[in-house]
């Protein structure tokens, strides 16, 4: 009887993990739609191809080595050694029962949940370098990012490495996932340069409106839904009253922060530009979500709303600032995931009394430093060997024709 209860709890936690993981997988579609909506139509097929391919590469690379790097639990806290995931069996019922419930979910369900996270980090990159980066160079970087760069810093925090030991708090990954992805993107954008015509000779930013705003909105809603899995699943367990309450709290706060981000970004854009800028509002939703990701459990829903709202304000100013710096980011990924990711890490101290500002900043610096340096190296090598930027003519005609030989909307006349 008691054993049955333990098994049942294990089953519930595993099922919860899988459902939450499926929600996170759905975020891949969200990024694909968001980015497809925010680029120009001549770069749409290529960004779709990048998105579905990067998700696939993430799945394979994380299986081949990423997961083992990140969760090997070895002696060294700096660099993991084991590469055994594919052979090791899942928990047996006997082991689970013997653990008295301490082993509470399937190892494979954990793998599933983790694999969709690395895909999220990589999805962040694709948007920032859109419309001008070579497809195959990007996919090559995805191999390195998903197989090495991301898992190593992931290990430092979630694998029980030195960041975790240093008291760095990052519940679902404002830092480990979002800041990391944004940093890799930043490195790419610096080496890549802006889209042709994006800034005038005198330095003014020239708008390049996204071709399909309904798609971008759909992508945002998908991400919002997926984020319930992203944050909600990161509680890792649901099978008792306290944990169930915690998961519920995470759901409520995740929703509240996104709502706060929407409202704040909408108002900020209205005040700054005099118009209700939908693309900023969408970024505001995502900013709210990123902001709460580092600590969606401890704040009250009211505080969560405020944390999200600050994210929503920040993202608008950040996007303008990156433009001033001529760092061209078609979808605002560096602002949403990087700048607001940092804000999320800092905001942890508002509600989580175990976290300190210094350890949060330390974590942010480590993640940024590691990811930036390794990414710059990786991008540079790729650049030297096969180049990272398409030719000017290909860019002008659109990467879709050049790289994919296909148009996104072949029948529609375009301006």
């Amino acid at each position: 009887m008691e054993n049955q209860v333990i098994e049942l709890a294990y089953a519930l936690d595993t099922f919860y993990f899988l459902v939450m993981g499926a929600f996170v997988m759905w975020m891949a579609a969200g990024f694909a739609m968001l980015e497809a909506g925010l680029v120009r139509s001549k770069s749409t097929v290529e960004i779709l191809t990048k998105n579905i391919a990067l998700y696939s590469i993430a799945s394979v690379m994380y299986m081949l080595c990423g997961y083992n790097i990140m969760y090997s639990g070895t002696e060294s806290t700096w660099m993991p050694l084991a590469f055994d995931m594919l052979t090791s069996a899942d928990n047996s019922a006997a082991d689970v029962i013997a653990s008295g419930g301490d082993t509470y979910y399937s190892g494979l369900s954990d793998f599933f949940f983790q694999v969709v996270f690395v895909a999220t980090a990589m999805s962040i990159v694709s948007g920032a370098v859109a419309e001008r980066m070579k497809l195959w160079s990007f996919l090559l970087f995805a191999v390195v990012m998903c197989g090495f760069i991301y898992p190593v810093q992931g290990f430092w925090k979630w694998g029980g490495g030195f960041l975790d030991a240093a008291g760095f708090a990052d519940f679902a990954g404002s830092g480990v996932v979002h800041l990391c992805g944004a940093t890799a993107a930043l490195a790419g954008v610096i080496l890549l340069g802006a889209r042709k015509g994006r800034y005038t000779a005198s330095g003014k930013a020239v708008a390049m409106p996204g071709a399909n705003m309904p798609l971008a909105t759909l992508g945002t809603f998908i991400l919002w839904l997926g984020w319930f899995g992203f944050n909600g699943g990161s509680e890792l367990v649901v099978s008792n009253v306290a944990e169930a309450n915690a998961v519920a709290m995470v759901f409520v706060n995740t929703n509240a922060a996104a709502a706060g981000g929407v409202i704040a970004a909408l108002l900020t854009a209205k005040i700054l530009f005099g118009k209700a800028d939908l693309s900023m509002t969408l970024n505001g939703a995502l900013a709210g979500l990123v902001a709460i990701t580092a600590e969606p459990l401890a704040p009250t829903p009211g505080l969560a709303t405020i944390i999200g709202a600050i994210g929503g304000i920040l993202v608008v100013f950040s996007i303008i600032t990156f433009d001033k710096l001529k760092l061209d980011d078609p979808v605002g990924a560096m602002s949403v995931h990087g700048v607001v990711g940092l804000w999320g890490l800092i905001a942890v101290v508002l509600s989580n009394t175990d976290a300190s500002l210094s350890s949060q900043l330390f974590g942010a610096v480590v993640i940024f430093g590691w990811t930036f340096v390794t990414s710059i190296i990786a991008w540079s090598i790729i650049k030297m060997v096969i180049g990272i930027r398409v030719s000017e003519e290909d860019e002008m005609n659109g990467v879709d024709i050049a790289e994919c030989g296909m148009e996104a909307y072949p029948e529609f006349v375009r301006k």
């Binding site: 930013a205 708008a207 390049m208 118009k275 800028d277 303008i320």
Partner: protein, 112 residues
């Protein structure tokens, strides 16, 4: 025969079409065009960056018509398309040396 080409504001299309029907014009060919003129475009903001809209949407109407009807036609268009605001558009008139109706092979004024 003349070819009368009118550039008008898009939302005036229905008014003009009705006015032309009234004076018995039986054929019009319309094209979506973009016009650049005294009516200046505007600068939009998108994500905080500028976005200059130079070319404004216009409709181009082409009407082949018998010489005798040209004046009536010009009058009619000028009235129907007029809003009094800048950007109302232009009418150009040129000569047609021949007209053929593909269906029947008729030529000249009967082909109109």
């Amino acid at each position: 025969m003349k070819l009368v080409t009118a550039i008008i504001k898009p939302f005036k299309l229905d008014d003009v079409r009705e006015a032309l029907s009234e004076i018995g014009v039986s054929g019009i060919t319309a094209t979506e065009v973009k016009g650049f003129g005294r009516q200046k475009g505007h600068t939009e903001l998108y994500r905080g960056a500028e976005y200059v809209v130079d070319f404004l949407p216009k409709i181009k109407l082409e009407i082949a018509i018998d010489d005798s009807l040209v004046e009536t036609l010009l009058d009619s268009i000028t009235k129907a398309a007029n809003t009094g605001k800048i950007g109302d558009g232009k009418i150009f008139v040129s000569d047609l040396s021949q007209v053929i109706r593909i269906r029947t092979g008729e030529t000249g004024a009967t082909a109109l």
